[in-house]
Symmetry: C2
Subunit: 294 residues, 2 copies
């Protein structure tokens, strides 16, 4: 039986070590840029995306190492979205993971550029190894670009900003959630499956798994924004309410939102039945996503 | 004998058509994002980078078409750097190519995100076709990432901003110029050579060509900032002087700067002697780079 807390800690440390060793050194010119990149990336994140990515590789019979570089690339990309979302012209947040946000610490121009540099480095890292021969060799970068571009993460952020201060229909809220959060979680699982040499059937099953846990993850975030406190979250809570942001909790109420999240997780776990490798971590991770406290 | 004006116009039109057809349609949700991406990309740029890229492919015996997709990707990437450089927290420019800059037209958040989306789409496009088999299949994306990341274009922008308002040593100025401008021009030539199937020896020669014309291009920009007018340039001139930015012209004086630029061009053209394909366009482009009026 998998001890999830130990598993998460061990994986997080391996991912953190890898990222630490592979980021440009902080003293390299321009030092302020490389410091800002490291400051935001090595800020003690949960590393959910890289852990999902490497777990997906292992669930199809691949190794942890086969997916580590693309997994780290996904974390760089995720970090860039946080830096840019926090900017004064967007969510204007001053606290992230319990520390001043990148633009508070390094100035706005350096924060924009550190985000740009992490996005670029994500594509460098993910392009360092070609995909296994049953896929297009450039498939990993394509997956990352589709998920994070103007039809994925960025579409979600644009509509999220445009929707602030007014009531959104459920359909619009799902457009935002699917793109802003779910798409990259789904891509993390797909990229792990491809890097680990999974079959097309396994890729289909894991795509559905990734989409379900991705939406559940965002619903859980909405719930935490209401029920948690700033100390546990490492950032202000209750912001959604203050900004009159539409969330699952506002539309459905707390109990219904919890129910939807749990249904999605059950559905996700059901997709894992046919996989050829170790399914236990992905099963545990799916449950963790709706039970986490921050 | 190549008629350069006709050549540039014909190439520019083919590149523009390709980009226009391949960008997401302006009505696609989120419309404001896709409009902003198109607004800045299809703003009548000279398309120097994609034209250099396809000309490099032809100079090593490849076709125009073999390098068109990566060439267009380079132009997307260049456009993203312009959008972000123009932001209020950076150069705070309101006019670009004779029109309001992206953030003036669409708001600051949408400009940041349109830039992010173009950067992402550049890596999507360049990953759509693997490199010829004598190279790593993901080589084209790697080239683009190296040139545009925290050790390339972004390093140049960070140091350029940090250097405003104080006198820079020539060494620091060259650090900025090589990265901010020359690196991407060099990458355009390298990427075209690789996509066109050039040999390692041809790649070496074209790398040197690209580095030389890249530095000459930036010196020519500094000269134009002093000698041209806003109407011809489509943006304010004399800004460098107002901001006390260090430039080649400030350090060397106008005549010496012109001399350095012309020496670099002669050196660049000398590199073309051993190439197996049509060298005429690259020769003409090198001279054009220091003779252009905007």
């Amino acid at each position: 039986m998998l001890e999830l807390t130990t598993y998460l800690k061990e994986r997080r440390e391996r991912v953190d070590q890898f990222i630490d060793r592979h980021l440009p050194p902080p003293a390299e010119r321009p030092a302020v840029l490389h410091e800002a990149m490291r400051y935001s990336t090595l800020a003690g994140g949960k590393r959910i995306r890289p852990i999902l990515c490497t777990a997906a590789a292992e669930a199809v019979g691949g190794t942890f190492e086969s997916a580590l570089l693309p997994a780290a690339a996904i974390e760089l990309l995720h970090t860039y979205t946080l830096i840019h979302d926090d900017l004064p012209c967007m969510d204007d947040d001053e606290l992230r993971r319990g520390r001043p946000t990148c633009h508070v610490q390094f100035g706005e121009a350096n924060a924009v550029l550190a985000g740009d540099a992490l996005l670029t480095l994500a594509f460098e890292w993910i392009s360092e190894t070609p995909a296994p021969s049953r896929y297009l060799p450039t498939q990993l970068a394509l997956e990352l670009a589709h998920a994070s571009g103007s039809r994925g993460v960025i579409a979600g952020q644009v509509e999220d900003l445009a929707g602030e201060g007014r009531e959104l229909a459920l359909e619009d809220l799902e457009f935002i959630h699917r793109r802003k959060t779910a798409t990259l979680l789904r891509a993390a699982v797909r990229i792990g499956c491809i890097a680990g040499g999974g079959s097309p059937e396994e890729l289909d099953a894991l795509t559905q798994y990734g989409a379900d846990i991705g939406l559940a993850f965002q619903i859980a975030d909405d719930i935490l924004n209401v029920t948690s406190n700033a100390e546990t979250m490492g950032k202000p809570v209750g912001n959604d309410e203050k900004r009159k942001k539409s969330t699952y909790v506002r539309i459905h109420g707390l109990e219904k939102a919890k129910g939807v999240a749990h249904e999605l997780i059950d559905q996700a776990v059901g997709q894992l039945a046919t996989l050829s490798g170790d399914r236990e971590p992905l099963t545990a991770l799916a449950h963790y996503i709706v039970q986490r406290q921050n």
